[in-house]
Symmetry: D2
């Protein structure tokens, strides 16, 4: 059954394997008249590119995006936008060994069980490289949303036990360090920690947080198509994610109602606040006095900032020895060579942003 298509108004279909000829995405349902060129997309792809820092794999991927359809005279036409990335620097030879066993923590085993065989070159369709197509689609979604006054701040919240301090939060720092952390000191500490982990031939997980500002109240539908439900699906669909949280997230389980509820208050003359108008309750603005809910009440955006968080597991490909079973049905010890990120989190920051943006418009823009 088809699994690579998402959304119904802004619908994306991705395709391509890590070591095939190319990969890409078709966006169907993008509004007509949006100014769009490759220059709008490429910077987002560059954010997930490897080879940018000493914390990410030194592989070179060109990842140069090309728009094949749906744009005419520099503007979207309302018809499908097809985008392609050619795989120029993959060397299938690097990965031949993994054909002979199941890598722990990867999809090798389950693909084999489901399909009978697998494209074993670099993980094939289950490779993290698949997310490049999501980022290309996300860049279009982000551009549409920007025109509606909606913006994104996405960053690494923690790597291993090293977490940012919100007292040190500096939005400008995010693009300044290789880990996309909004706290220079945390970034420095995390950088040193990753080096240690690498020397130990191991890898480490982390948490990415995304804040959406400027979204109006009313996005999302009751019951099964709640905005938070679709955000959870979108983020959990990213390869290494094992937990998704909205607002205060899992900590709400330990909190009392009196602590967790966000009261409503009046906020006169607050032009910057996007929940400042109330059609029903007169002219003064109603806002929440806190945002434990993360901007979503009853599955519908409430006008406050939308806050989501995804927990990523450590890169499963490690040089450190592991046990598995090979083709001859023997238990073996393996050590996975090749150029693998000791931490996937920094490169995934833009993927989280892309998936959040795609979710906000996949059902709801007109």
């Amino acid at each position: 059954m088809a699994g690579s298509t998402l959304g119904n108004i802004f619908k994306i279909s991705t395709w391509g394997e890590s070591h095939g000829k190319a990969l890409g995405v078709v966006i169907d349902g993008c509004p007509a008249g949006l100014s769009l060129s490759e220059a709008d997309i490429q910077p987002y792809l560059d954010r997930r590119k490897p080879g940018q820092s000493r914390y990410t794999t030194p592989r070179k991927e060109d990842d140069e995006i090309e728009i094949l359809s749906g744009v005419f005279d520099g503007k979207t036409t309302g018809t499908p936008i097809s985008m392609i990335l050619y795989n120029t620097s993959q060397h299938s030879g690097d990965y031949s060994e993994i054909a002979s066993y199941y890598r722990p923590g990867h999809a090798d085993y389950t693909f084999d069980k489901k399909y009978g065989f697998r494209d074993y070159r670099g993980g094939g369709r289950s490779s993290g490289r698949e997310t490049a197509a999501r980022v290309a689609a996300g860049a279009v979604a982000i551009k549409i949303l920007k025109e509606l006054g909606i913006s994104f701040t996405t960053y690494t919240r923690s790597i291993g036990d090293i977490e940012i301090s919100y007292d040190n939060f500096d939005e400008n720092e995010i693009m300044n360090n290789m880990l996309y952390m909004p706290d220079k000191q945390a970034a420095d500490n995390a950088g040193r920690y990753i080096e240690e982990i690498s020397k130990d031939h191991d890898s480490i997980g982390g948490v990415i947080e995304c804040k959406v500002s400027g979204a109006p109240a009313g996005i999302g539908d009751p019951v099964f198509e709640k905005l938070d439900a679709n955000l959870a699906k979108a983020l959990m669909s990213i390869g290494a994610v094992k937990g998704v949280e909205i607002g205060d997230g899992i900590s709400v389980s330990r909190k009392k109602g009196s602590d967790n509820n966000d009261g409503f208050i009046l906020c006169e003359n607050n032009p910057d606040n996007n929940n400042s108008t109330s059609d029903n309750y007169n002219s003064s603005s109603i806002i929440k006095s806190s945002n434990h809910a993360g901007g979503i009440l009853g599955g519908i955006s409430d006008g406050s900032d939308i806050l989501v968080r995804a927990s990523f597991k450590a890169t499963p490909s490690i040089l450190k020895e592991q046990t598995t079973v090979n083709k001859n049905n023997e238990e073996i010890n393996i050590s996975i060579k090749g150029r693998h990120d000791p931490v996937i989190v920094p490169r995934a920051v833009v993927v989280v942003e892309a998936m959040t943006a795609i979710t906000l418009i996949r059902r709801n823009i007109t």
Copy 2:
């Protein structure tokens, strides 16, 4: 846009408000030939019924399910199964006050912003009562899965800070205490804690865990329709859930690859193990030596137990004073009267089980 329909092979559409005439669900795509009657459904509804213990609201709801179509001579026909629950014991008068203000933590404000007005009687469509229809559909899903050898163990893992001890885990205890906890001592402690909270006119959150045993490898599709992605959506669509985890969940962010990866080992002569056959790698069985992944690799079930977890916030309706804004655009202090659960978690256990079951078959059975 439609939001009350879920799935495409086993598709459910729910309807109904807390204080309308009735509520119900239409299941389209249930396989033909399944033996089915109201007696298969009612016990599940009884598990979410209020008025069963001193920890849940003393309201009486009959919640007697009636099958209106899709069953002939005691068996499903393959055509839509319509089920209805009449609202017999609701008193709209109890809720008239809430028409005049926005209850903190509820969907009153967002429904008004989205639709222009709302059915304010008991929360209308956003009431927790909506989940009764999910449970009815879930009971059918669970019955289908049971025939395929798939079973569920669902329980309260924690209430506030009081968590079960896996050393004391006793599956038989789950149905023995009013909190559905598999640890008698934790249940006793939690019971006392809830009484304190109640006396303080407050409420508390908690965590529900669901373990699926017997699911074969191969359920779920790559990329956007990963099994864990659909489970996350299904659980996050339950009213009070703010966090969803698979396997080790958010704790993976702090773990190293060498700790988090589940190695593969051979398991000869393990007839009980449902990942005991490997068509590709000879006749001996391959299993994982641990299950940090929670039974899902690359979005596809791997034959191990599937483990999901949802974090619930505290009931937002509390007697304790809160601030909000009323129809006259005045900030007011309110105290929400009426019969409200101090903790929603016990009644939600069966809802988590229902949504997990519906997700397992919504795309994948044939």
Copy 3:
């Protein structure tokens, strides 16, 4: 797989068998704020009711519609509208014989092959009675469209060889005769013809035409979701339909391009014409000088009247002797007793109207 759900913005799910307890429909995605009560729906159901004339079956069906959810204070709330019709006058005993053989021209054989058995009472889910739920949903769709200035004229175009004359076309006559023909003379002739057919224990087919006025240009999407494609699906999904046409329909196969193309002309000062504004080409209005296309160009409405046509086969249940095979695997001759319409067409007029209306808004209203 689910088959009883249609649409994605205005989504309907129907359920129920001919001789079950009830049948109904859930509409999900109806806009909030629409004034709605049973009185808006009932007249449409009455148009498909049997027992109204000597040309339709003398059975009595109450078909009294009840709204169970989604309406509050007389207005739709934006949440699912559930509607139910109880089956009060069905007598299962009447149909017991058909359990023993396959009726020619019915779905008995194919349901058995697909599902392994069938609800044989009056055709079960494959009964024409299923369309009552479509009509209830259609009545809501028609009401929404009416508020947007879109109206429907639907009528019997022909019965057997007896066709209306467009020279005699009288819209007011449609509701005046039992056959819903807009030509009194044709209706009289057809009435006599049906009586003859009935005496001969036979049945006859016919054609229904639906004209939609006031639809703006721009409805429908390119490629697979063309408006005419969705209309074709909607009409072909009505039980007895074997052909669907748009505009000049199958006759276009015999026509030259110069005869079939509709030229564009200017139409100044035509306020009644709904394609009177051109944002692109200045202020004067552009219209088509003819409407062979039936109001649809490239799958998108062009502002002219939309014209669709469906050809219905004769009622397959006839008293006249037919051959079939029975449960003992014997070829037998049968004569189907019971109260069956000698022509299904008049009762199907409102079904065609309902399906056309549902199609116009199923993807496109906001």
Copy 4:
């Protein structure tokens, strides 16, 4: 809203404009393990290629298909298959004039009304060239179905008034003449007729028929997802189609029940017949004694040949003078130059076959 995606099990998404860089299709949900290469696809594309005969446009299109993903070691992997056709021989200059007016019978006007502007080069997305992507996807569908014993016979039934005689029906003749007619004499006559029409600077319509043999009973779902409903949608979605028929089609409106019903009979020892097994009614086979129904009863295939028919209008682009309105809002007379087929029907034969095949598996294979 998205319109270029079709199906849910075998799902296709097409993209590309007539004069863009390329066009293509992504197939998601193709079963794993199917042997597949470009050589399986190219012959189908060649059937819709222009420049093959004196009856079709002398343009040269290479239309060389390339598979970019989803195939590994010569077999499908179960992941998306992306296929691309580069537009190598288009000359945008040829089409610059049509930017200045609305061509009658084309989608120029409606695209402008819907999207605000259009890619006017050769019709852009609304060009018949879009169907090349459908044919590529159809070739895969046909290959899958062939392995299940299902085959297609598709041909031109009529051009203008010149219709094949079923007495002369010769399946081998179909590929022998440029018009794909199974009757040499009709093909000769039609060829001469087209030459006349061409000399007169005009164009002509026609009818295509598709017969599916070997399909088992049970394909299709009740109510809205009937097989005939989906076939109608699929065929009506092809640009120039204005009428779709199943089996006896619109002629059923003139027939009596006793003439139109297909009786059931026993057929012992008929190994070639694909409705030869009856699980319910003993071991002997039940077949229909005739096939007015076109192989579909109650929306579900009945094991007989499935017969569908589509009526195509004449090519709207003609050299003969027509009236339209230009950008300066003036009524003008135009004569559309360029290389246009005087009849679109022969090139559309393979498109009808492709859409029929895609429909048969879009919901139903496993």
